[in-house]
């Protein structure tokens, strides 16, 4: 970036106001995503919605501070690994059902309804889905950002 203002080289990202607000909120957004994931079997939401919110917290970071900082926290390779890991985890849970004789069998004790630790494999599936969706969405966003940069350099 050759663009410079009077105050020297421009800092990446948005203004100080946005950065400060982001610093305060981004952790809360991330935690809210985690909450949605782990309560997926109790309240509306679940792996997909929660994974989306987790990805949004990183995208928020990227929008406010520029791509370098966000990629330092969660790199492209990490996104790719976590996405595959989510897929494998989900499949493993499904295959572990074979221990009880059926693909996708809910083989863990179900517990008491409306407890956090209940519903057998459903919370584990939600966690796997959140990894897959969150990392996948973030990877798509990275791809779009890099596409934009490549176009500018041409």
């Amino acid at each position: 970036m050759k663009k410079t203002s009077k105050r020297g080289p421009r800092e990446p990202g948005m203004t100080l106001i946005v950065k400060t607000i982001t610093r305060l909120t981004v952790g809360l957004i991330f935690l809210y995503g985690v909450y949605i994931v782990v309560h997926g079997h109790l309240t509306p939401g679940g792996g997909f919605a929660g994974g989306l919110i987790i990805a949004l917290s990183f995208i928020h970071l990227m929008l406010a501070f520029g791509k370098d900082l966000a990629l330092k926290k969660f790199s492209k390779a990490a996104a790719s690994i976590f996405e595959s890991l989510g897929g494998i985890l989900f499949l493993t849970i499904a295959l572990l059902g074979f221990t009880g004789g059926y693909f996708f069998l809910n083989f863990i004790r179900k517990g008491r309804p409306f407890d956090l630790f209940s519903a057998g494999i459903i919370p584990l599936c939600n966690i796997a889905i959140s990894l897959k969706v969150g990392a996948g969405l973030f990877a798509i966003f990275i791809a779009l950002v890099f596409l934009q940069i490549l176009k500018k350099e041409e």
Binding site: S84, L85, I88, L91, A94, Y102, F103, L105, N106
Partner: protein
């Protein structure tokens, strides 16, 4: 009993493993993909024996009995399609070992390839109509990415066109499923068939049938909906062209259409007549369009449109013999069209061109490719005693038997046009004088040759499938499922244990 979910679990697991470790361990993508498709091929052959023993198997996912849970169904038609898909997929992965070495990021290719295979196996094995839609989308989205794999301008354009048309098709299919669900309140195909029988088809089936013809017709590239295919199939790398033209359009288009029309909706004679007319149109026009092509892969793509027409004609006649003929032609077309696309890939690999005008006399330098391509060409044109002859013969005889004389005559004459453009391909590529700058051309590497020879052997031996014992076991048991129509539901609910 529990092998049915493996058809989906194995390729999915392999796909994620390849994407996790494939970048670091260079040999892993080739090894894992070939192991995966080989084991799937063996499992699919085992499933033929299982079906012969038990008739039909219904697998309850998570032990939830249908119609509540999702079920996987293994019957004659399913195992016929599974054998077709997985055996050919194995030869295509074998071929990819050498061919894909030219591209970077082989692991990405195999990940997408295995995801597409998982989607196709899912479409075939599922007994739930929404599940069918989900797997159809998995296979379709993986194929959009695979068409764009070379990321040149032409490939991206073809992929975009394909993605738009494919998404349009998926929305029609989804809309049809939504209407059916609102009418029957169930998504299980067997249960849906029961409800439709009890409630009467009403007006909803009359509305859903055109939606499905549009949707699955687009996926199968029958004539008015074929425009994306001649761009998309040639742009992909050769193994993917073989996969798309040989298998994908059949599984997503024809298999899904057959399953829903015959076993779930039990559509009227008029609908079958429409399918037959569409089949004849795409058979004829596809063949005429193929004659004028100079790009070898484009010619093969138009030829696919034409051959899909034969299958549609067989389905449209809808007598047991015609259905058996259509299924037999589906199997044969899968083998020789994959073979021909692999041949075109070998030519491109060695000479660097796809233009027929720049080739010539390649037989002297590429004897294996030339010989296998000749077998494939003659088989697709219906030369006895190769496999294509027998399946076309059955379809034409069935048309005569059902007193569609005009259709039979058209089918026979289109076969002659097919012969004409394949002879043109043979003459311009493999016979005659050697083209300019082709003196140093070498034959394709070993694994590519092995895959082509194996597929050519299936083309030669394809006629043996007509032997009474094999025919009953493999093709007739599949045709019986379709001929049973709504009886499918009874058998599904009868075989839940």
């Amino acid at each position: 009993m529990s092998i049915i979910p493996l058809f989906i679990a194995i390729p999915l697991g392999a796909a994620f493993l390849v994407s996790l470790f494939g970048r670091r361990i260079k040999i892993l993508p080739d090894l894992l993909a070939n192991l995966c498709t080989a084991s799937l091929g063996i499992l699919s052959l085992l499933s033929v024996g299982i079906v012969r023993e038990h008739g039909m198997l219904v697998y309850k996912i998570g032990s939830w009995a249908p119609p509540v849970g999702i079920s996987l169904v293994l019957d004659g038609l399913t195992c016929f399609m599974l054998v077709t898909v997985n055996i050919i997929a194995f030869f295509i992965t074998l071929y990819s070992i050498s061919y894909m070495a030219r591209y970077t990021a082989k692991w990405k290719f195999y990940t997408l390839f295995l995801l597409m295979l998982a989607g196709m196996n899912g479409v075939i094995a599922t007994g739930d109509i929404f599940n069918l839609y989900v797997f159809l989308e998995i296979a379709a989205i993986a194929s959009y990415a695979l068409v764009a794999f070379g990321i040149e301008h032409e490939e991206l354009e073809a992929s975009f066109k394909y993605a738009v048309m494919g998404t349009l098709a998926s929305s029609f299919i989804l809309l049809g499923i939504i209407f059916l669900y609102s009418y029957t309140s169930t998504l299980n195909m067997a249960d849906m068939s029961n409800v439709l029988l009890a409630k009467g088809p009403g007006k909803i089936v009359g509305f859903v049938v055109p939606l499905f013809i549009l949707g699955f017709g687009l996926k199968a590239a029958i004539m008015p909906f074929h425009a994306w295919l001649p761009d998309a199939h040639p742009s992909a790398p050769a193994p993917i062209s073989a996969m798309l033209s040989g298998l994908l359009i059949k599984v997503l288009g024809i298999y899904a259409l057959m399953r829903i029309f015959f076993n779930v909706l039990g559509v009227s004679q008029n609908t079958y007549f429409v399918l037959m007319i569409l089949g004849v149109i795409s058979m004829t026009l596809g063949a005429f369009l193929a004659i004028g092509q100079h790009d070898i892969k484009r010619m093969l793509a138009y030829s696919s449109v034409s051959q899909i027409g034969y299958i549609m004609l067989g389905i449209g006649i809808a007598t047991p013999m015609a259905i058996a003929g259509a299924l037999f032609h589906l199997f044969n077309h899968a083998t020789f069209k994959s073979l021909l696309f692999l041949n075109s890939g070998a030519i491109e690999y060695s000479t660097g061109t796809r233009d027929l005008k720049k080739m010539g006399g390649l037989n002297s330098h590429m004897p294996v490719t030339g010989a296998t391509s000749l077998i494939g060409s003659m088989s697709i044109s219906g030369m006895p005693p190769l496999s294509g002859f027998w399946s076309k013969l059955i379809i034409i005889l069935a048309a005569v038997q059902a007193e569609y004389y005009a259709m039979a005559a058209i089918a026979a004459s289109v076969s002659i046009i097919t012969l004409a453009y394949y002879l043109k391909l043979q003459k311009e590529a493999f016979f005659g004088t050697l083209g300019e700058g082709l003196e140093k051309v070498k034959e394709a590497p070993l694994t590519m040759k092995l895959a082509m020879i194996a597929l050519a052997a299936i083309c030669i031996a394809g006629g043996l499938l007509l032997l009474p014992q094999v025919f009953d076991l493999f093709i007739n048991s599949a045709a019986k499922v379709l001929s049973a129509g709504n009886g499918y539901a009874k058998i599904v609910f009868g075989s839940i244990r």
